[in-house]
Symmetry: C2
Subunit: 276 residues, 2 copies
């Protein structure tokens, strides 16, 4: 999402608004407390990719936060925003709802790093997330699986990755289980089996692109498994991807400074299955 010259902003209850205007008050707890939820969606040639999955997850996030969510109004808002977006090709849309409540759909260009990352792959570092892999089992106040606005740790981890000469992060639990990336799922392949971390007790987000990928992969002969894997499992895997809705699946080319061979055949197949 950007709000420069190439941008569209539609605000819930207001309609299209100048994207350079301020729309959030200083007492909105989405700002003061990170108290709200969001989705990041891919726009491709004027169509929103898997909007149903994003709205369903946003409804779950809002319900966990006890913020009212009118799915039909959000569907209309997203349609209004995309109708005003006149650029072909890929774009990024953010849907964001605060407890304020402030709600908006904003569309802007792809993040500038994404083309290079898709081409060259991702150098990742593994970072401890501080939680055990079952920390969220019976503690709903920890907001496991909720795509909240409280992403400061996710952003700090990505800065730590850059400091270490890498592009992104794979979070690991205190008991050594691979969790997720700050803004995406982790998927790895071993032969014709795709693995990802189970949501639920791990607290990770259920990825929408990971979900679609696994459904389509199953249709084309892959096995899929929800696996509590380790970093050693990633090292031994054929291919490891970080999978996000806007960036798509991008293969990991180094883990903690150790390069990995790329596998263009499997990688290409997985990217195409995910719609990229």
């Amino acid at each position: 999402m950007g709000t420069g010259s190439q941008a569209v902003l539609a605000v819930l209850g207001r309609g299209l608004v100048d994207p350079a205007s301020a729309v959030v008050r200083v007492d909105d707890s989405g700002l003061t407390r990170g108290d709200g939820c969001f989705e990041g969606c891919r726009v491709l040639d004027g169509a929103i990719d898997k909007l149903d999955l994003h709205l369903a997850r946003m409804a779950r996030s809002a319900a966990a936060l006890e913020i009212p969510f009118d799915e039909a109004a959000w569907r209309d808002l997203a349609a209004l925003a995309v109708s005003a977006w006149k650029h072909p090709g890929e774009a990024a849309m953010k849907l964001l709802l605060t407890r304020g409540p402030t709600g908006f759909a904003a569309i802007g260009p792809l993040p500038p790093d994404y083309p290079r990352q898709r081409r060259d792959g991702l150098r990742v570092v593994t970072l401890d997330r501080g939680f055990a892999s079952d920390a969220f089992a019976s503690a709903p106040w920890l907001l496991g699986g909720v795509k909240s606005l409280s992403y400061a740790v996710n952003m700090a981890a990505q800065r730590e990755a850059v400091r270490r000469g890498a592009d992104d992060v794979i979070f690991v639990s205190t008991d050594g289980v691979v969790l997720e990336a700050p803004t995406g799922s982790v998927v790895w392949s071993v032969g014709r089996t795709l693995h990802t971390t189970p949501p639920g007790a791990t607290g990770i987000l259920a990825g929408t692109t990971q979900r679609r990928l696994f459904e389509r992969a199953t249709d084309t002969g892959w096995r899929t498994e929800l696996t509590l894997g380790t970093v050693d499992d990633l090292r031994a895997a054929d291919v490891v991807w970080l999978v996000g809705s806007v960036r798509g699946p991008v293969d990991v080319v180094a883990i903690d400074g150790t390069p990995r061979d790329r596998n263009p055949v499997v990688d290409g197949e997985i990217r195409r299955l995910a719609g990229f």
Copy 2:
């Protein structure tokens, strides 16, 4: 902080602004990622309480987040806001800085629950924070001790407390150590010794009111200790307080539904030492 008719808003780089106006754009990562930091301060009869301690902590938070922080400019901004606040008695000031960067000082009335809570004490529930008590020892990306805008879990925990018929929360580590409240420190007394949880590896915030209380208590013959205590330690304590900058120290009158006797003599002494 409120932004109703009784409110003042001063924005960094702009000066005094209508507090009902929107000042934050939708691409400000303070909003989209909870990526920023804040302080909540008490204003009493037109003076800001312990502003130096708040600015020092905010500078540490901003440094941890790698956001530039100009302490002199913030001192001027706070002074500008308080000069426009014409109401005697107590008020709440919020200082907030995003990566945007957006910075503001906002002043409004005390939260409406505080007078009742101060009078009747706090019923608290203990909730698992999901982290071990040493989770933050060597993981700066987890932002231990940083007063970031990513407070969604803190707010969800307070909603859980209300759901259980209580007023507030004491977070506990997975290994049973008392941590902090969602918006304050935990302090407890045993005889003439005051205890609180050490910051650092525990990840808790270093409380400014707790700090001042401990300094003044030492001057009047109390011993003070940084203690990795348990909920049983709290049950056995003479008095337990949640200590915040705006609410002050408020004694705990029930833990997980079990009432506690109040001790008005010790409680009164501690509140006065803290300046309340």
